[in-house]
């Protein structure tokens, strides 16, 4: 990702998020950070995964606030703060713990603007992490993106690169709607280039991560690097030229970019690391099937997790996360079929 006229630095996904938080906190004193262990964590710098590193040192304990284990309570509090002048960025340590505060997120945050006839705005960002990929088990590995897409009033973001993570988190913080922001443990240590200069990535724009002509692969979050390496192999080994699209924000969804791609390639695969049934792929497949019916040369395939809670044993867990091979197999199926 090179941008004309920008100096670029290579940083990790975690560092990118950290920079976004720091920059936005400097820019706007209404921005505060709340969550468990955001002040110290294991390192003493902040955050179990260092996303909030050194923020407490710079902004103090009032704006970088450790919370008790009360997800429903502190998310509710963040909403209350958001409607009265602050811009809270809340950390929910694992995406699974969103289940502890669904009531405040869905019944309150998502509804306030509408049910008050526009009197209230809820500028809150709920950052969370998908824990898959290291045997943390059934209640620490879920990918509940689709549920939030089903809730009018929420926006949903899931970046896959340091560049997108930083630029989208900054946009999210500046937005006036409640936003669920999905990070991923498997992406935290990945590296990528970001501009030295300030930049943002607007919500609602998909990114074509790889241009191609033979088929379209829409990949979500953790699955983007995997889809890209699968695409590379497909080219090298089978001379199949896949276009890889990362929607980056699921709500609002950039349908146009996806539809245009499918109208060009006539084939679509959607790859996500969450459960297939009623997942993100179901929605994208449905939209594309509805809007590009006459262009499709093969059935749309969804590559996703099977209908199984995440096993702790690594021998089993790997079977529940789609792999490069699963993607390659699916691609070859629809190209041959």
């Amino acid at each position: 990702m090179y941008i004309r006229g920008c100096t670029m630095r290579e940083i990790t996904y975690v560092e990118a998020l950290n920079e976004a938080l720091r920059e936005e906190m400097r820019r706007d004193e209404r921005v505060i950070v709340m969550g468990e262990d955001v002040q110290l964590g294991y390192s003493g710098r902040g955050g179990l995964f260092l996303v909030t590193a050194d923020l407490m040192r710079e902004f103090g304990p009032e704006r970088v606030r450790d919370t008790p284990i009360s997800e429903e309570g502190f998310v509710g509090a963040a909403i209350g703060a958001a409607i009265t002048g602050l811009k809270p960025v809340v950390e929910i340590m694992y995406a699974d713990f969103l289940l502890c505060c669904m009531n405040q997120i869905v019944n309150v945050a998502a509804k306030l603007r509408y049910s008050t006839g526009g009197q209230l705005k809820v500028p809150i960002v709920i950052r969370t992490m998908i824990g898959q990929g290291r045997g943390v088990g059934s209640d620490h590995s879920q990918v509940p993106i689709a549920w939030f897409m089903n809730v009018p009033g929420l926006k949903v973001v899931a970046p896959s690169t340091p560049y997108d993570a930083k630029g989208l988190l900054k946009s999210a913080i500046r937005d006036e709607s409640p936003i669920i922001f999905f990070e991923s443990f498997l992406l935290y240590r990945t590296k990528g280039f970001v501009p030295t200069e300030e930049y943002i990535v607007p919500l609602g724009e998909a990114d074509v991560k790889r241009k191609g002509t033979d088929l379209t692969i829409v990949a979500i979050s953790t699955m983007v690097p995997c889809a890209l390496s699968a695409a590379k192999k497909l080219k090298e080994e089978f001379n199949i030229d896949a276009e890889v699209i990362d929607p980056r924000t699921l709500v609002p969804l950039d349908k146009k970019t996806i539809i245009n791609s499918v109208m060009k390639t006539n084939r679509l695969i959607i790859v996500e690391s969450g459960v297939k049934t009623c997942g993100v792929g179901a929605e994208i497949a449905s939209i594309v099937a509805e809007e590009t019916f006459d262009y499709l040369d093969a059935p749309i395939k969804r590559v996703a997790a099977p209908h199984i809670p995440a096993p702790a044993s690594p021998a089993l867990e790997q079977l529940t996360i789609p792999s490069e091979n699963d993607i390659i197999r699916a691609v070859r199926e629809i190209l041959q079929g």
Binding site: I32, E62, R63, T67, P68, S70, E72, G73, F74, V75, G76, A77, A78, I79, G80, A81, A82, I83, T84, G85, L86, P88, N103, Q104, N107, V108, L112, R113, Y114, S115, T116, G117, G118, Q119, L120, P152, G153, K155, E176, S177
Partner: protein, 332 residues
């Protein structure tokens, strides 16, 4: 302009402005008349959704809000009309909201259970029991960080005191020492379930100790007592001394909602007994006994209130419904 009086009750030394007392009387009456009219409108089929009246509980909302400035925050409940009126929501906008009209304070999108009127500090009324408490904590946090001296007040029922939200909110308000006042309207029932059956303590204020904050129980049908205890809590909050839990014991003399006759799970005697404890009659007697208002004054106030309520309902009835082409506004 202000007529001062000695109080007959309490410490006995406190003096309340008579116009404050008159204001409280008037507001309570406004709530009562308004709710009665709303019930009629419901029977006429003009109100959608669920409607929960606060007849009998007027002293709580009024005694609390009498302490508040327009810029103080309030979070109400599903039983929120009285709270809204006490906090200053115009009757016409409130009635229109309940009838689902575009002229309502939430443009008809919220309805009876979700009244909000930000201009007067009423942030929201929470129909999901318990959810208001964390919201109020957040409003308190915002006040603290913005360094204003507002307060945030949260109303909730006896039933709500058994939700996880109650616990998490009170703990947060305490550790962060926030200017939040938690007002429990203990009307002894959560729908058909008596508080004894659902709640492990005698007084809900007993739970304050579990959060190391002051907790009080007060006669919720005595508007002066409510006013005074809340006044102290508001002072503490404005002085940075943290939250307070105040339990107001009261009773809804009507059913839970307009579809509930309210007699299957409680006795007629109990209802009659509480009718005799009517907070409005009580203040009325007090005003007369203390020479603050004459029967004549009271009748005049009564007619004025009636007229205002009638006007508001008329306004609501005559207002247009939201236009279909605006159904998708205010989502983001």
């Amino acid at each position: 302009m202000y007529k001062l009086l000695r109080e007959a009750e309490g410490e006995g030394l406190e003096r309340l402005h008579s116009d404050l007392l008159i204001w409280m009387y008037t507001k309570m009456l406004e709530i009562r008349r308004f709710e009665e009219k709303i019930e009629e409108e419901y029977r006429k089929g003009l109100i959608p959704g669920l409607v929960h009246l606060s007849i009998g509980q007027e002293a709580v909302a009024v005694g609390v809000c009498a302490n508040l400035r327009d810029d103080d925050y309030v979070i109400g409940t599903h039983r929120g009309h009285g709270i809204a009126i006490a906090k200053g929501v115009p009757l016409d906008k409130l009635a229109a909201e309940i009838l689902g009209k575009e002229t309502g304070c939430c443009k008809g999108r919220g309805g009876s259970m979700r009244v909000a009127y930000v201009d007067k500090g009423l942030l929201y009324s929470c129909p999901i029991v318990g959810t208001g408490l964390p919201l109020a904590v957040g409003a308190g946090l915002s006040i603290k960080l913005r360094k204003t001296n507002q307060v945030a007040v949260c109303f909730f029922g006896d039933g709500a005191s058994n939700t996880g939200d109650f616990h998490e909110a009170l703990n947060l308000a305490s550790i962060w020492r926030l200017p939040v006042i938690f007002i429990c309207e203990n009307n002894m029932y959560a729908i058909s379930v008596h508080v004894k059956k659902s709640t492990s303590v005698e007084n809900i204020s007993d739970r304050a100790r579990g959060y190391n904050i002051p907790g009080f129980t007060v006669d919720g049908n005595d508007v002066i007592a409510v006013y005074k205890i809340v006044r102290e809590a508001v002072q503490r909050a404005r002085n940075g001394e943290g939250p307070t839990l105040i339990e107001c014991k009261t009773y809804r003399i009507v059913g839970h909602g307009t579809t509930d006759p309210g007699i299957a799970y409680r006795t007629i005697e109990e209802i009659e007994e509480w009718k005799r404890k009517c907070p409005i009659d009580r203040l009325r007697r007090y005003l007369i006994a203390n020479g603050i208002l004459s029967e004549e004054d009271l009748n005049r106030i009564g007619s004025e209130v009636e007229a205002r309520v009638r006007e508001a309902i008329k306004f609501a009835e005559e207002s247009p419904y939201p236009s279909p082409d605006q159904v998708a506004e205010y989502v983001y």
